[in-house]
């Protein structure tokens, strides 16, 4: 599954459950069917307009 980054943020102040993972990137990804989903970005940071592909429960920058 692939999509385009609609918007993104890097979370520095995390909730207790994710505190050890901070800072981490979260994005809203616009999928090819037109719907959007919110997901963690694995690996390299992305910006609005970047292509991303599904990697487990996260998305990763398209190579």
């Amino acid at each position: 599954m692939r999509g385009i980054v609609y918007t993104e943020t890097v979370v520095h102040a995390a909730p207790a459950a994710f505190a050890e993972e901070a800072p981490y990137q979260v994005a809203i990804v616009q999928l090819e069917d037109g719907t959007k989903t919110t997901a963690r970005i694995a690996g390299e940071r992305v910006k609005i307009g970047d292509g991303v592909v599904r990697a487990g429960s996260a998305f990763r920058k398209e190579s």
Partner: protein, 386 residues
Amino acid sequence: MRQVAVVAAGKTAFGAFPDRDLRSLAVEAGRKCLENGRARPGQIEAFYLGNFAGPSFTGQNHLAPYISTALGMKGIPATRFEAACASSGAAFFHAVSAVMAGLYDTVMVLGVEKMTSQSTARVTEILAAAGEVSGEIAAGSTFPSLFGMIARRHMFEFGTTREDLAAVAVKNHENGALNPEAHMRKVISVEQALNARMIAEPLGLYDCSLISDGAAAVIVTTVERAGEFTEKPVRVLGIAQASDYLALDQKDDITTFPAVRAAAQKAYDAAGVGPRDVEFAEIHDCFTIAEVIATEDLGFCGRGEGGRFASAGSTRRSGEKPVNASGGLKSKGHPVGATGVAQICDVVQQIRCEAGERQLARHSIGLAQNLGGSGATCVVSILGAL
């Protein structure tokens, strides 16, 4: 429909009060309000409580009768409203609607939140439950990060800058420094705002409102009976509540809040006024970007122009449309369940010309905008001198 007026207001200072529990804050605001309206508890026919997460923050549930009985109001309907950060705005909307419809003559609306007994990480978690827990929150979103994503998109589409956002923070701190009841009475510089540590990019510490304890209350009655309580009644010219999706990813466009636009339109229509007639506003600046977008959605400036509107000084106390003369959620503080009613108290104070150093030159029509979550609930109230 009957005409409705706010005839009394009372609130606690906002801040971190380790020795105070939720009920003692609520009782202080309620008593000050009764005193302000020379009212006895027996004159109150129904009690409307706004509270977001008392059970999570304090362990106590069933809060409305817990507070109303402590105020000496026995036997009356006492109900809690939950709509995230718009909880007491929603309580106010339903209270005003009930009086308009003739269900009661005189009611009290009280908002309260006790937040500071929990760690910041736990508070972050409790607040996140105002978003869609199974989706965006499970992915690691926090409330600052939802507004961080809104800010990024607004910057991308309209060229809004971090300096524009800093202008909002600097202005609200400048106002709050003059407010004896504000949580953080501290003037800050643009550089301080820009260089503060990041919370959720592009939002830094000073883009975020405060975690506070506090309570606020008002008494609402009919215009006919207003004279029994005060020489300075404030009329509810128009009020509306609207809703939208919880999850940001369900929205077509996250750079505008449809619920704000819908509530504003209805409230303007009911009041028979437009954005130009509103002389000042208390806006829900949970994050600086929220104030920027609200100024657009309320029609104070054009779409995408909110950042430049703030940077140009238009929303300062000396500007064409003063916003958050109280200091806003940013400096005054944001005990979430108290915020909606506190905004009404602040607008009432300006209209009554009782705002001290923060008193605005033009203060006859004021607007309060209370937002829940990342825009899933909005209440807009337009108040004016009677």
